[in-house]
Structures are given as C-alpha cells and as structure tokens.
C-alpha cells in the first residue's frame, strides 16, 4: 500500500486505505519525538516551504517541527511580511517559490480551493493546511489518530461536533473522514451556524447541545470565531455560552468514558468551560502531540512516492 498522489488537498479525496496508511505511519513516528535525539536523517536535502496567508501558530509550528525532526529544511513565509503586501498575486508568489526548487509547499489560505489552484500551477507537492471554510485535512487526520489511539477503533464510534459548523474547515474534514471510517457523526450548533444541506454528508443535525452529544464517545468542540461576533450569528457571547458551552452539567448526556477534543485555540468559558478543558477526559494536548506525528507521516509519504 502506498500513497500514490502528489498532494494532500483534502480528506474528501482520500480512500479508507489511504487514511489507514497515513495513521499507521504516524503511529510509527510518535516515538521519535520522545527520544533524547529527536531527529532522523530521512528527509535530508528536502526543502519544505510553509506559506501562510492566515495567522497560525499551532499548525505552522507543528509542520515546522515535523519537517525538522525528519531533517528537512524549512522556510516560513507569513504573508504580512512578504511581497503579497506589495501586490504580488498568489500564483506569481507560487511561481517564484517554485523557481527556488523546494520539494513541498504547505499552504494556508483564506480562500477555499487555493491549494488545488496552487497544485495545478507548480510541480511541487502541496499540503493543505487549511483553505477557507473548506478543509483542514491534517487536523482531521490528527483527530482520527487520537480517537484510534484512545478508543482503539474509529468504526462505530459516535462523534459529536459542536459549534460554528458553517465556517469550520475542521468540521468538514472530520465529517468526510469519520463517515468514511464508519463512525456516526452528529453535529450541533445554532441554526445560524448550520450550513444548508449538511445532512447530505451523512450526519445527524441537532440544534441543542445535549441532543448533539447524547451517548457520544467523542465530543469535539469548535472554536467560536470571536471575529465573527459582529455578523449577528448569535446575539452575544454570553448567550452562546449559556446554550452551547460544554460544562460539567451538560456533559452528563454523553457516555461515561467520553473524550473531549478541541482543535484550538480555545475560548475558555465560551464553547468549553475550564473544568472540562483541563478535566480527566480532555485529550486536547494529546491532539497537539499527535499533530506532529501526522505531519511527519505526510511529509514522509509524499516525499517517498516519487
């Protein structure tokens, strides 16, 4: 079994076998990060460009650490300090990068579909690190890795995803991945944050938190994007928190051994209460640890297949 593709653009295009291959490979990379010498020489001479058109600390750092632990060279381009502010177009930036012969470009962009456009414009491998409200495939892979590690399976799990589903690329990638892997997905959130026709992706739709998380094995709380507060999706943060903040009381609707996940960054007291975020069922920091392993696996698999 091999990952016979140039790019990783989304979970939607991956087969179950490909997802399993990525997760199995990521499992093998976990222990490198716990060694005294956290580096293997595998990707010596490979150059990875992190091209980020949106702010990110976690994802960018995670890709950078993953590349460095495999001995690849990394370059970070944040567009606030690049020629983009001088008016260069996206494709021109990409062609200029291509001319410097990197091997892999990791792209985050606010426009959905931009990694696909980049992939057609350059011969390098492109990894989607989040495109608009479309997909965030590496996040879904690290989420699935964490579920598989803790619950020993994905098939048959009941996973609840709660929050601003309409604007969430994390939700979309997870819905594609989890339904493929045989999990039951239920989504919850205010009706203003629910995209139309989302049930066509094979998920249960709920508008109350307790209904969405009933009997859930996993609860994934999404970040409320505070910058959208002006757009009248909800009346006030306080009201949102009152109905949708996961806390010690409403979590009782889920299974006793429920796991709590959050893609970060958290708004404590808005979508998740501190006692849940720091509680015994929270695997939020394990998600971050597994993120490095998943990204190492992808860099490895995309470099080796040529």
């Amino acid at each position: 079994m091999k990952l016979a593709r140039k790019d990783l653009l989304g979970i939607q295009e991956l087969s179950v076998e490909e997802i399993n291959l990525i997760l199995d490979t990521a499992d093998s990379f976990i222990d490198i990060s716990t060694r005294e010498i956290k580096k293997v020489p595998t990707l010596r001479g490979v150059t990875v460009v992190n091209l980020f058109y949106e702010p990110s600390t976690r994802t960018r750092t995670s890709f950078e650490i993953a590349a460095k632990r495999l001995s690849a060279d990394t370059i970070n381009i944040a567009t606030s300090t690049s020629s983009v502010v001088k008016g260069e177009t996206f494709i021109d930036t990409a062609r200029n990068l291509e001319a410097m012969n990197p091997d892999i470009i990791v792209l985050r962009h606010s426009a959905a579909g931009s990694p696909h456009m980049l992939s057609r414009a350059v011969r390098q491998s492109v990894i989607n690190a989040g495109d608009g409200a479309h997909e965030h495939p590496t996040q879904a892979l690290l989420d699935m890795m964490t579920m598989r590690e803790k619950k020993k399976r994905i098939s048959g799990l009941k996973v609840a995803i709660v929050g601003d589903i309409a604007h969430s690329r994390v939700a979309r990638s997870n819905i594609y991945g989890l339904t493929k892997m045989g999990a039951k997905v239920s989504i919850g959130g205010p009706i203003t944050m629910m995209p139309r026709f989302i049930e066509r992706l094979g998920v249960e739709v709920h508008y109350r938190l307790e209904d969405a998380i009933r009997n859930a094995d996993i609860i994934m709380m999404l970040r409320i994007q505070l910058e959208r507060q002006e757009t009248n999706l909800f009346p006030s943060l306080r009201e949102y928190a009152r109905y949708y903040c996961l806390n010690r009381r409403n979590i009782a609707a889920a299974k006793d051994d429920v796991l709590i996940m959050h893609p970060g960054p958290m708004n404590r007291g808005v979508e998740i209460s501190p006692e849940i975020a720091d509680g015994p069922y929270s695997v939020i920091l394990e998600q971050v640890t597994n993120g490095v392993a998943v990204r190492m696996a992808l860099l490895y698999l995309l470099s080796g297949g040529k």
Partner: protein
C-alpha cells in the same frame, strides 16, 4: 524459472546459533553490559533466539531490543518506493553498553551502516559488534561481521532467503537463482 537449493536446515541453523552464542560470550568475557539488538525484520527472531541461548548458558537474562532502520536508509529518497515503517523497541539505555547487532544476511553492508547511525541516536554504546547468520559477500562499504553463522559465497543474481519461524521446524536457509 527458479532453481532453489537448501543450504542450511533447522538443525544446522540451531548449531550455528549455539556456536555464535558461545563466541559472543567468549569475546565479551561474559554478559556484563551486553545487549542484543535485532534489525527489522530478519534479525528480530535471531536476536531473541541468541538472547535465550546466552541467558541459558550464563543463567542471567540479557536485554534484547528491536531496531527498524527504514528512516536511516541511504536509498530512501531514491528507491522510488514508499517503505512501510517497522517498530523500534529499545526499552533500555545504550549508554556504555556492549551492543551486538543481529541480522540474518550480511550483503552490501548498507543496512548495517544505517543501523549504526540509528543506534548512535539512541545513546553512546561502549562498543558495537555484529552477528549475522549468513555472510554472502559483495560488500559495498567497509563493514565486516564479528560473528558469522555461515559464510556463503554467492553470485549477485542469486537470492539468499532465511526462513525462520517461532516453531523452528521448517527453518531453512535457501539459495534461489532466477533464470
């Protein structure tokens, strides 16, 4: 067409391993600080068997680990193949230890080069020795084995297959030539 010839049977392998176990003990003057590391995949069972023999002779258990060298290969970006990763499991410190690397067949020597690089990332052994069941020649880098079960001169076109199983009954070393 393939021509196959059995060059070592289960008994022969067993006798060779017994001799190699004694040689390891003789050269290292006992088991103090001694550890065995089998190289994935062919060296794992051999290391376990050698470990059992040495423990039985000396009456003390000796640590046995597993090493996967995939990430240290010199052809990993050139082979055009994605290689599945195996498990590395060295649940003890290598600092100051005498490490005996164990593999089934010594051929070009490149696997051993990669294994030594990998070991160095886990610590600083006092010394590294190499034990192999078969030395088939054709070295491409200056590496030699300290302990050899059987020297088996072969041609480049032949394949040397070491078949081992937990039950030992069908163990064999086979030379295979494709026409």
């Amino acid at each position: 067409m393939k021509k196959r010839k059995v060059v070592m049977d289960a008994e022969g392998i067993e006798r060779s391993l017994t001799r190699v176990a004694y040689q390891i003990l003789e050269k290292n003057k006992g088991v103090e600080d001694l550890v065995l590391i089998g190289i994935q995949t062919g060296g794992i069972l051999l290391a376990e068997r050698l470990g059992k023999k040495i423990s039985a002779i000396e009456g003390v258990p000796i640590p046995v680990g597993k090493l996967d060298i995939t990430l240290y290969r010199d052809d990993i970006m050139r082979s055009g193949k994605q290689r599945a990763l195996g498990k590395t499991d060295i649940p003890f410190s290598l600092n100051g230890r005498k490490v005996v690397l164990v593999d089934d067949v010594l051929f070009t020597g490149r696997t051993i080069r990669a294994a030594m690089d990998a070991l160095m990332d886990f610590g600083r052994p006092r010394l590294i020795e190499l034990a192999v069941l078969i030395d088939r020649g054709h070295r491409e880098i200056p590496i030699r084995a300290d302990f050899v079960g059987k020297n088996l001169p072969s041609s480049q076109s032949e394949e040397v297959l070491v078949k081992l199983s937990k039950r030992k009954t069908s163990d064999a070393v086979i030379i295979e030539e494709t026409f």
